[in-house]
């Protein structure tokens, strides 16, 4: 099932579905209305602007002429103008009312349509049948003014919403429309969505890369700030990957397309951010429950207030009707409906332009609740490029031989230690073994020319039943905070490597900041206790688990969750996938290109560990904003509906209703705008 990118509803992806294709990607919609809002967001804005000007240009004369409404002829002029307003700019509310009747639900339009119709209908009857009434005041100015004010509010909200979605629009605009295809020795400009894999393109300085590609020719510097948040230009040379949408700063380069525009990183980011903003988060549950009963409750309150003031309060038909109108107009279900999505929209947009991708709305809420963070060591707190620092050889094998045999065993390994060994013999030809087996948390076993090579830790050597008499040497290496790899050849120990990794510059600051937030930190590593201790003492981490196998991470997360902790796991999106999925919040340090493959609720595009602090801070700030919005929406309705229902009559008398419906419209019109504006303030928050 696909998700409607506008309203968030799940829809079947069948042939009859309402769909639209953008950048080669198909989007599915629940209705034509949602499709139109997706395809032509500007159309609604322009239409609204016209209706607003039109409505006010008639409302002002209505207000002015109402002062002279005792002149009978003018009454008919006022009626004509007010009727045009009621059924032309006000038609959108009737359309909404019709939809709500069809779907048997109430919405804001139901209330506005009912409220203004009551005022207009009453005034119309007074105009044409004055003899029916003792008091013959008309309230066309009220119905017209309410429509104009509500339209003003909707227009203001639209302007604010454009600011709220600014970040997403910025991302969409990064995709260049034209690419220069190199064909038959010449250049042809083609549309970006027509680019196919392996096309060779030319990108000139000052142009954006059309899609994810590999550099074939040339060296340049690339500004990746809009995708990864990295502010410094990145040097790119032949063989390097460039991300679509990033800016070529220095030189013209030839590139080979690796991903088409509908499947590249930028398009994935946009679709993830769009999806995240349409999701519902648990905090919204209460607002949703209230929203479903809100409109019928308001209508009942209005009708009850009318009867109460007419029969018991005895304030007369006109004022009792104005009480009903005020209740219907002042109630604002919209503020409740957009309180959470508006904050999520701004928050996920702000995160995305900082290179932080929240894959779903729930992750933003979870980020606010985290009280325990588990960090993987290698590649997360350390640079993740270990180097061999010590080599010991035995049984008459030279360093060169041991390294070469170890490299043969590790050539197919993706483990960082394996890569460190292969790097040591760079320049020499490394042959492939006949067979290769990776044993997680232990090491590798390979068969080469019918000989068995084992490279792994002490557990691996013991498991293989190999005699080992170098415990003292291992201890000496481990005490220096280094990891140990043992090489065995046909069940004989031939070498021991000491391997160490550098702590990332920003790791210490990150740990300090997380601690300041009152969050517990755990470091889990497969390395020995000495190596783990060296790093943890340097960084000030008290809770450390060393010699951990991949499943130990998973077990620790489960244990902490059972203790009632809300756990975030920070690690590599591919290798730590099970732990990231188990945690309440999985934060993956991304490689910058394959975000769809990464597990976890949050992807840190530039792989900067300090972004973990930003994720946690943004989560807390977003939740605070959602709570503020919801509090505003609830309090607004809880206080102002009783006011509109007649709370002020005992103090000021019924005459206050000569102006109260107008104040009700002003309050209602700006309540939603307040929610959106408050959400936009998130953009000013420093992370």
């Amino acid at each position: 099932m696909a998700k409607d990118p506008v309203c968030g509803m799940y829809v079947e992806e069948n042939e009859n579905a309402i769909k639209s294709v953008r950048n080669g990607k198909t989007y599915y919609f629940c209705s034509e209305n949602c499709k139109e809002q997706f395809e032509k967001p500007d159309k609604e804005y322009k239409k609204l602007k016209f209706l607003l000007i039109f409505s006010w240009s008639l409302t002002v004369p209505v207000i002015f002429l109402t002062y002279f409404s005792n002149i009978i002829f003018l009454k008919y002029v006022i009626f004509t103008l007010a009727t045009i307003i009621q059924f032309y700019p006000g038609f959108r509310f009737y359309k909404g009312l019709l939809n709500s009747i069809k779907s048997r639900t109430g919405n804001m339009d139901t209330l506005i349509a009912m409220g203004t119709t009551v005022a207009w209908l009453y005034s119309t009857i007074v105009t044409f049948f004055p003899s029916f009434f003792i008091v013959r005041g008309i309230y066309f100015d009220t119905s017209s003014l309410i429509i104009s004010l509500v339209l003003t509010g909707t227009f203001m909200e639209n302007l604010m919403k454009q600011k709220a979605t600014n970040a997403l629009h910025k991302l969409i605009s990064l995709q260049p429309k034209i690419a220069h295809l190199i064909k038959d020795g010449g250049l042809i400009d083609i549309d970006t969505d027509k680019i196919k894999k392996n096309y060779i393109l030319l990108v000139k300085p000052g142009e954006r890369f059309p899609t994810d590609s590999e550099i074939l020719e040339g060296v340049t510097e690339v500004d990746e700030s809009m995708i990864t948040g990295e502010s410094l230009p990145v040097l790119k040379k032949v063989g390097d990957t460039v991300i679509g949408g990033t800016l070529n700063i220095l030189n013209p380069v030839k590139i080979k397309v690796s991903k088409t525009s509908d499947e590249n990183t930028l398009s994935e980011i946009i679709s993830i951010v769009e999806k995240a903003t349409t999701e519902r988060v648990p905090i919204q549950r209460l607002a949703d429950k209230v929203s479903s009963y809100f409109v019928p409750l308001v209508i009942l309150t209005g009708i009850f207030s009318f009867f109460f003031w007419y029969f018991i309060g005895d304030i007369g038909l006109t004022y009792s009707l104005l009480v009903l109108v005020s209740v219907l107009i002042i109630a604002c279900p919209c503020a409740l409906g957009i309180a959470t999505p508006a904050a999520l929209m701004v928050s996920s947009g702000k995160a995305a332009v900082n290179g932080i991708i929240f894959k779903n709305g729930e992750s933003i809420e979870n980020a606010s609740k985290i009280n325990t963070v588990i960090l993987d060591k290698t590649g997360t707190l350390t640079v993740g490029k270990p180097e061999i620092t010590d080599i010991y050889t035995f049984n008459n094998f030279s360093k060169k031989d041991v390294l070469k045999l170890a490299a043969i065993a590790e050539i197919q390994s993706e483990h960082l230690f394996g890569k460190a060994i292969v790097k040591e013999v760079r320049g020499e030809k490394i042959e492939f073994p006949e067979s290769f087996q990776y044993i997680p948390g232990m090491g590798v076993k390979a068969i080469y020319n019918k000989n068995t090579i084992i490279v792994g830790n002490l557990n691996m050597i013991r498991n293989e039943g190999i005699d080992f008499n170098y415990q003292d040497l291992i201890k000496d290496i481990e005490v220096k905070g280094k990891a140990v790899l043992i090489v065995a050849y046909n069940s004989k120990i031939i070498g021991i490597f000491g391997i160490s990794d550098k702590i990332k510059d920003e790791s210490k600051k990150t740990i300090e900041e997380i601690k300041k937030m009152g969050i517990d930190i755990w470091m889990i590593t497969g390395d020995n206790e000495y190596s783990a201790k060296e790093i943890s003492e340097n960084l000030g981490i008290e809770n450390v688990i060393s010699n951990a196998k991949p499943k130990d991470k998973l077990e620790k997360i489960k244990e902490l969750k059972k203790m009632g902790k809300t756990v975030a796991m920070v690690g590599d999106g591919i290798n730590d996938a099970p732990a990231l999925a188990e945690a309440d919040l999985g934060i993956a340090l991304g490689t910058g290109t394959d975000i769809a493959a990464e597990t976890g609720g949050v992807i840190l595009m530039k792989g900067d560990i300090y972004d973990v602090v930003k994720v946690l801070k943004l989560g807390r700030k977003t939740l605070r904003k959602i709570k503020q919005n919801l509090a505003w929406a609830f309090l607004y309705n809880l206080i102002l509906i009783p006011v509109a229902a007649g709370l002020l009559i005992p103090f000021y008398g019924p005459k206050i209703y000569n102006i109260l419906p107008i104040f009700a419209a002003i309050a209602m019109a700006f309540s939603s705008t307040t929610v959106v504006s408050n959400s936009i303030l998130l953009n000013r928050e420093k992370l």
Binding site: M108, V281, D288, I338
Partner: protein, 101 residues
């Protein structure tokens, strides 16, 4: 994940001579016509399938089926679900589903 069917609900199912309960995810219009304001998901319990594809949640003395999306959310959050019969509403009610889909 745990599903509890109350004695009251079991008794009612017995009276209705059925063993199957379907939990369906429906959507209703949000409170305003605004593209920020989303459709509200509502959960409905029925004794016959309504629309879409269902997956089994519980198959013992009684069978409980739900929409796939809903099931994914239930499993992900390890929800403890209680299915009861409300005499007041004269219908089956479900409690304990985490609100995330």
């Amino acid at each position: 994940m745990m599903i509890v069917i109350t004695e009251k609900a079991k008794k009612k199912l017995g009276e209705l001579k059925t063993k199957n309960i379907y939990i369906t995810l429906n959507y209703i219009q949000g409170p305003c016509n605004d593209n920020l304001c989303k459709m509200i998901p509502k959960i409905k319990i029925s004794l016959t399938p309504e629309n879409g594809n269902y997956v089994p949640l519980y198959e013992k003395d009684f069978n409980v089926y739900s929409h796939k999306l809903l099931a994914e959310s239930i499993f992900k959050h390890n929800d403890n679900i209680v299915i009861d019969y409300s005499t007041l509403k004269r219908s089956f009610v479900v409690k304990g589903i985490t609100y995330s889909f």
